[in-house]
Symmetry: C2
Subunit: 214 residues, 2 copies
């Protein structure tokens, strides 16, 4: 019974996601769904990416949070179009929530639209939004056991950003194990190690994004 309900929700979501896909294709915008645990650094990564891209690439953002507009205000301060979705309790964005806010963004003028999902290493990976790719962010402070404990996130993502590597000297964390386990779950995954605080590794990530949208 519970499984049936879940299946129905996912099927309904998939239909709306297909509609979003068509809207994105018509607008010629590349769409990235950014996912992680709470506090892994999605918004910081987005800020640093926008700063490096915005002179050459037109970026737009949809922020997803259960409550509040802190993240949208951080993005707005960078001068790029942004819409905040409050899910009102739901632990992930779904395709319908995205569909409802597309009219509030100049999507035909954008090169890339980044959707920052609700902080959650589980459910966001199961709900298609109509995006071209999913990207997972994992902070090394979360520990090296995370890929095997939350496999779907790593299986569904085209890239993995391993963030906060500036903290490596102060942690007992095996970053090689994170890489190894992520690749065992998803041999095609592209992995970047970055620090949004020091800037290390961000140029390689931004260059990779540019190859995808050019």
């Amino acid at each position: 019974m519970k499984l049936k309900v879940t299946t129905n929700i996912l099927t309904a979501n998939e239909k709306i996601a297909e509609g979003n896909e068509k809207i994105f294709a018509d607008a010629g915008v590349f769409v990235l769904n950014l996912m992680s645990s709470p506090g892994a650094g999605k918004t910081s990564l987005l800020e640093q990416t926008i700063i490096r891209l915005k002179d050459r690439v037109k970026v737009g953002v949809i922020e997803g949070d259960i409550a509040g507009a802190d993240d949208a205000m951080r993005i707005d301060a960078l001068g790029v179009p942004v819409v905040q979705i409050n899910t009102g309790g739901a632990c992930h964005l779904d395709a319908n929530m995205i569909n409802e806010v597309l009219g509030d963004l100049p999507i035909a003028d954008l090169d890339i639209l980044v959707i920052e999902n609700v902080g959650n290493l589980v459910c966001p990976a199961e709900f298609k939004l109509g995006e071209h790719m999913k990207v997972a962010v994992l902070s090394i402070t979360e520990g090296h056991d995370k890929p095997l404990k939350y496999p779907v996130m790593f299986q569904e993502s085209k890239a993995l950003i391993i963030n906060k590597i500036d903290l490596k000297p102060f942690l007992d964390v095996d970053v090689e194990k994170i890489r190894r386990d992520a690749i065992s779950l998803n041999p095609e995954i592209t992995i970047f190690e970055v620090s949004c605080k020091t800037g290390e590794g961000l140029d390689a990530w931004v260059a990779w994004i540019e190859t995808l949208i050019s």
Copy 2:
């Protein structure tokens, strides 16, 4: 429509949770539901708590994870009874999952049963398991914006453990803001600052737990 489905699941869960409550009352065991984001340190806190309690208090553990048995093996190494639940994709434990494993634990012999939930700062707070209290763990590496962005977790918890305070010198984090926002959401919440790595703050937490089960 979507809301209706959710309400039905929550209502069904509540009934089973009431059954669990009765089983726990008959067994005379105090039950704690431990929740956090992935990697905030629930298992480390549990290990450190067991080490400090186990000579005086009989502890049992239910581990909840989407996949794997790493956490149960860590607890088993301490010589306390433990059962691992794999949710097979579900992002939280529910009352029925707990009910199904109670026969695998000597609950009538236990003083305290700790249920370590799936790493997720959202959904676990909404599903009663029949526990006496919920406790939230937040690592300072997750940032000081988390209580206001994930309010239900902090509203539902009787205590908040602020973990990894040994990393404070290396982070731009305002721990006072975490305290202030958690208290604004839940004036009755008891807050502990700890480091499971250095042991700082753990004695106060363990002493508090002992007052609850004595």
